[in-house]
């Protein structure tokens, strides 16, 4: 059945009008869905930050080998060849003290201010950054590396990274379950709100059916209403998260430069998409499942 353009807009206007007329009901629904989205968003942000934090700490796959001071070119080359010869090692990269300094300044917030006072002298040693294949005995391998002549210290976060990776995976799992459960709860509560709205409009629906409206016509305004409520909730939740996140980031950064959170600009599009999608889905789905009861006239 063809819907004239004017008619389609009219049905959308019906949906909007219904939201306005049942404003208290709409407000309640928006409140509930916004709260759910906030919980989901918070869980997601925590997970995301932990994940990127882990990346900073270093992964199982990388080891930094710090060298003694004052080694010659030849000695550097010898060490490099030794490393390349080891079966567990691949990708050997030399980082001079100056390069190391530059990296440190770039990776730390306000690094140039913090470390600028040292002038051009680097207090860091030369180092090799190597990637490691998975090894049976991680600790034994690290021990062997430290035995190489010219090696001062080894920075191997493998053990810690291992634990942290496990934590991260738990967070991911927990986070996903949380999202799933919250989504189901949101849909349930929203559909109850929609059912109440439909109950209060059963007279209208009844007349529509008796006058000869098809089920689609009855559905569309309520569908529109559900989706719009979902989007409004998403917008509210996004605004709250935006303000909250920026403030928390600032607060933690003031506490210590170590607490570096992911920049809002990076994470904002993801959150927007997440909230928008969930809002739309919750609104659409809950309105569609609620209306079935009232179509049987």
């Amino acid at each position: 059945m063809l819907l004239g353009k004017g008619n389609f807009l009219g049905l959308i206007k019906d949906g909007l009008r219904n939201i306005w007329l049942n404003s208290l009901m709409s407000l309640a629904s928006v409140g509930v869905l916004t709260a759910c989205l906030l919980l989901v968003g918070s869980a997601f942000l925590v997970y995301f930050n932990i994940e990127s934090g882990l990346e900073q700490v270093g992964s199982l796959g990388e080891i930094k080998i710090f060298l003694n001071d004052g080694l010659s070119e030849t000695e550097h080359t010898t060490i490099e060849n030794t490393l390349k010869g080891l079966p567990e090692i691949y990708d050997v990269q030399f980082i001079s003290k100056d390069q190391g300094m530059e990296d440190l300044i770039n990776n730390t917030p306000d690094g140039d201010i913090l470390f600028g006072m040292f002038g051009n002298d680097s207090f860091l040693p030369d180092s090799f950054l190597v990637k490691v294949k998975k090894s049976e005995d991680y600790n034994a391998m690290v021990e062997r590396l430290s035995q190489i002549i010219g090696v001062d210290e080894i920075a191997a976060n493998g053990a810690i990274a291992n634990t942290l990776t496990r934590i991260s995976r738990s967070v991911a799992l927990f986070g996903s379950i949380t999202v799933g459960v919250l989504l189901v709860i949101s849909i349930f509560i929203l559909s109850n709100a929609v059912k109440l709205a439909m109950f209060s409009r059963r007279k209208e629906i009844g007349i529509m059916k008796l006058v000869g409206a098809t089920n689609s016509f009855v559905r569309i305004p309520f569908f529109v209403e559900g989706v719009i409520l979902g989007f409004i909730s998403a917008i509210f939740a996004f605004a709250i998260v935006w303000v909250g996140y920026v403030n928390i980031t600032g607060y933690l950064a003031d506490l210590s430069f170590l607490f570096v959170m992911v920049d809002w600009k990076v994470i904002a599009p993801i959150i927007a998409l997440l909230f928008g999608g969930m809002g739309f889905f919750a609104g659409a789905f809950s309105s569609l499942i609620s209306i079935k009861k009232y179509l049987k006239v």
């Binding site: 004239g4 008619n7 009219g10 209208e204 009844g206 007349i207 006058v211 000869g212 098809t214 006239v297």
Partner: protein, 285 residues
């Protein structure tokens, strides 16, 4: 669809049994056979519980018949598909005792609503609604809400809604039940004029005075059966026959005044499909 059918409504040995939660079956209609031709005016009368409401529900497919056959406007109700029911209902204009107007919509929107939800194009709605309102003398009340109107006016709004879609058949279920006596006669008069344009009218009512004032065909139901089906507009019928149609002395109300029909000069011409009236002396505003 019944081949070669001329009647707009035909019931053939129709029965309806309700089964409620306590598995008590109640036979609302028994062996109803009835033929209503296009353009007729039929009163349907009977005491409470006689099956009048069930009859209406069957016609609108709110309930399905248990046995027999029904044909309405060419639709075979025993075999009609769920998806076809809205289309059947669009060929019928319903008028209710409680008006069934939507309280938070203006009169204009109430009438337009019925057209909009049945998919009429916007420009068609813009023509039909003012015309229907004009027919019912409700132009000045178009922007009012139902609560601001009297009972008679609200029912006229309901009528405007029923007429706006240009149906072949009007069914009025106790249309004057909530209206004072004077306004009731106005409504009756409007139904008469609608019928004169060729629209079939079925009027379910308690008010026997209507039958005296405006004798037409009367179908009387009692305990689910048709006990009387005669056209009283034929001059042969005497007062005593009309008296047969009433079942209690209480129905014998005071004789009504001859000229008590309202003073609105409403010329109702049948609205053509393109929205223009053929042969009307009046200017459709």
């Amino acid at each position: 669809m019944f081949p070669g059918v001329s009647a707009i409504i035909e019931f053939k040995q129709v029965g309806k049994i309700y089964e409620n939660a306590t598995t008590k079956k109640s036979e609302a209609l028994k062996d109803i056979s009835l033929k209503i031709e296009d353009g007729e005016f039929v009163y349907v009368i009977g005491p409470n519980g006689s099956g009048k409401s069930t009859l209406v529900k069957l016609l609108l497919c709110e309930e399905r018949l248990t046995s027999g056959e029904i044909s309405v406007n060419g639709y075979d109700l025993a075999h009609i598909k769920q998806s076809q029911i809205p289309h059947l209902r669009r060929t019928i204009g319903m008028v209710f005792q409680d008006f069934r107007l939507i309280d938070n919509m203006t009169i204009y929107d109430n009438v337009a609503f019925a057209l909009r939800v049945t998919g009429r194009p916007v420009r068609e709605i813009r023509k039909r609604v003012p015309y229907a309102l004009d027919l019912m003398g409700l132009n000045s009340k178009a922007r009012c809400y139902p609560s601001e109107l009297s009972g008679g006016e609200q029912q006229r709004a309901g009528l405007a809604r029923a007429l706006a879609g240009n149906p072949q058949l009007i069914i009025a279920d106790e249309p004057t039940g909530n209206i004072d006596p004077r306004a009731s006669y106005e409504i009756l008069d409007i139904f008469d004029r609608i019928n004169r344009t060729g629209t079939t009218v079925i009027l379910i009512t308690h008010q026997r005075e209507f039958i005296r004032k405006m004798p037409r065909r009367v179908v009387m139901l009692e305990e689910g059966r048709i006990v009387f089906d005669e056209d009283l507009s034929i001059p042969d019928y005497s007062e005593s026959t009309i008296a047969q149609t009433s079942d209690s002395p209480a129905d014998e109300q005071e004789p009504f005044a001859e000229n008590s029909i309202g003073n609105d000069e409403i010329e109702i011409e049948k609205m053509q499909d393109d929205g223009f009236v053929v042969g009307s002396d009046e200017d459709p505003v």
